[in-house]
């Protein structure tokens, strides 16, 4: 008996055009960027033996005797990060409330606040630091001021996104009990966002410790100035020791910070 061949099922494939165009576009952008920036892999690979030499100068024999000199400015750097993060957090809290559409119903205030916060978040802290150095003179104050502004910008944004995501039911409950705006805040909102608030502040602190370490480059205090001097004078072994110590410090801080954050949940 002859089995009748089933008719082949022919499906029409949906157009893949959009996908190919996107991929092509991405490739062009990537390639164009590299060309524009004179980024040539060949050049880099050729120069890589130089890297070995430089790294050996930095880390092969770090200037351990220089280490004690590094500690005080390092502590200063940490202090700068602490002050700016905490002050930033304190200021960020009311700002985030103003920016949240569920706490502040006035849409105009929301948008204006968000706009201002956005501007402060967009300016890199080093640029802010340079401006403040020009105003206040070089030293820690400029650095702290710059990091403070960056901090409240960052924490506010993270915070208001959290505030808008809370369970409104708990807020409704406090309203129905006859609570005023502050009471609603205290019982309906704060308990829901407090762990996140602390977490964001710690994260900002981690970022600030790294940033503070380099702000000195523009004269804004901290250990950055030591980097600059050592590099300029080509004391690479000193650069190496500064990097190592900073590195270890940041690791420790990150560790403590993540432990605290884990304990918050």
């Amino acid at each position: 008996m002859n089995l009748k061949q089933p008719e082949a099922i022919v499906l029409k494939r949906p157009s893949q055009l959009k996908k190919y165009v996107t991929i092509a576009l991405v490739i062009i952008i990537l390639w164009g960027s590299a060309r524009f920036a004179n980024f040539s892999l060949i050049d880099i690979i050729e120069n890589f033996h130089q890297a070995g030499r430089l790294l050996k100068q930095m880390f092969g024999k770090p200037a351990w005797n220089y280490a004690p000199k590094v500690i005080p400015p390092l502590l200063e750097t940490i202090q700068m990060a602490i002050v700016s993060s905490l002050l930033g957090a304190i200021v960020a809290f009311p700002l985030a409330l103003l920016a949240s559409s569920n706490f502040t119903e006035n849409k105009v205030i929301n948008q204006i606040t968000r706009f201002i916060l956005n501007i402060f978040r967009t300016i890199p802290s080093m640029v802010l630091a340079s401006l403040f150095v020009a105003i206040f003179g070089s030293g820690n104050f400029a650095g702290v001021a710059a990091l403070f502004i960056f901090s409240f910008g960052l924490i506010s944004k993270l915070l208001y996104e959290s505030i808008e995501a809370i369970d409104q039911g708990q807020v409704e409950a406090i309203v129905s009990l006859g609570g005023n705006k502050l009471t609603v805040l205290r019982y309906g909102i704060v308990p829901q966002i407090l762990p996140q608030f602390i977490s964001y502040t710690l994260y900002t602190f981690e970022v600030n410790v790294r940033a503070a370490a380099v702000l000195g480059y523009v004269g804004a205090g901290g250990i950055g100035q030591f980097y600059e001097r050592a590099y300029a004078f080509r004391y690479f072994d000193r650069v190496g020791i500064i990097v190592i110590i900073t590195f270890v410090t940041v690791l420790i801080i990150d560790f403590i910070s993540s432990q605290i954050r884990k304990g918050l949940v």
């Binding site: 960027s33 920036a37 430089l54 200063e76 700068m80 340079s130 990150d254």
Partner: protein, 268 residues
């Protein structure tokens, strides 16, 4: 007064408030100790005058610089910064994938993944500026150093996010491919990559936003972009030019944030 029944309360548990109070005390002490570093030397005598001059510069843009399309002009510097960010992010995204894989518990097991995580933390901790300095020492000043600095540093952050993505991925899909006989490469391409690629692209775009900001500052040490002209303008007290650059920076980064944000929303 009606006689109330005696209320028998349960035993009060050991107070958690001790831990909380300790936390607050430590925080406040740290804060007070840190204030020591904020040397308010008495704002420079010229501060007020400088501020006024800045404000004036803020409202009078440096049109010449803005329109100068040559290598020395602002548009070129902006484009250079953007390209540094693009290339740097791209490089890091590619390199972050294998690193993320070795840091993921569900790929290489608990022991190896710990090593991978340490490597990632180490890379993340290295300040970008220092990396930029190192790379300048290698390839000379200019954009390529910036790209490498951003690229290497971003591997840390992207590696961490990618590996978190991989670890929280639905194990079922991997099992499905393995159970019908797929080998490790096939599992990678048919199960893992499709699942996490959307998140990867999203994280990469987010990293790109951050790198735009970083690229602006790397120029300070000579790694290309408009960081260098900006610092020079500030040192030379050319407020007009300074704020022109700052405004352009804000506009550019905001536009890129918006663009990147809308693409990321579409991916979800």
């Amino acid at each position: 007064m009606m006689n109330q029944e005696m209320i028998v309360l349960p035993k009060k548990p050991r107070s958690n408030s001790l831990k909380k109070t300790l936390f607050y005390i430590i925080t406040i002490s740290l804060f007070v100790w840190s204030l020591d570093s904020v040397n308010y030397i008495g704002v420079m005598g010229t501060a007020a005058a400088t501020f006024k001059a800045m404000m004036k510069g803020l409202i009078t843009p440096d049109w010449a610089y803005l329109k100068d399309l040559s290598v020395d002009g602002l548009p070129y510097a902006v484009v250079e910064t953007v390209t540094i960010a693009i290339s740097g992010t791209f490089v890091s995204a590619i390199l972050a994938i294998p690193i993320a894989l070795i840091a993921s518990q569900n790929i290489v097991g608990a022991k190896f993944s710990k090593i991978g995580k340490y490597i990632i933390t180490m890379i993340r901790t290295f300040p970008e500026i220092i990396l930029a300095l190192i790379f300048i020492g290698i390839v000379g000043p200019g954009a390529p150093a910036g790209i490498l600095a951003l690229g290497v540093h971003s591997i840390g952050m992207l590696g961490k996010l990618f590996s978190e993505s991989i670890e929280s991925m639905d194990a079922g899909v991997k099992e499905a491919v393995e159970s019908c006989g797929g080998n490790k490469m096939e599992v990678l391409f048919r199960a893992i990559i499709p699942q996490v690629s959307a998140e990867f692209i999203s994280y990469t775009l987010f990293r790109f936003e951050t790198n735009m900001r970083a690229a602006s500052t790397l120029g300070v040490v000579g790694a290309g972009g408009f960081g260098a002209p900006l610092i020079f303008a500030i040192i030379a007290l050319q407020w007009s030019r300074t704020f022109t650059i700052v405004i352009v920076l804000i506009v550019t980064v905001t536009l890129i944030d918006l663009l990147s944000g809308s693409i990321r929303k579409k991916l979800v």
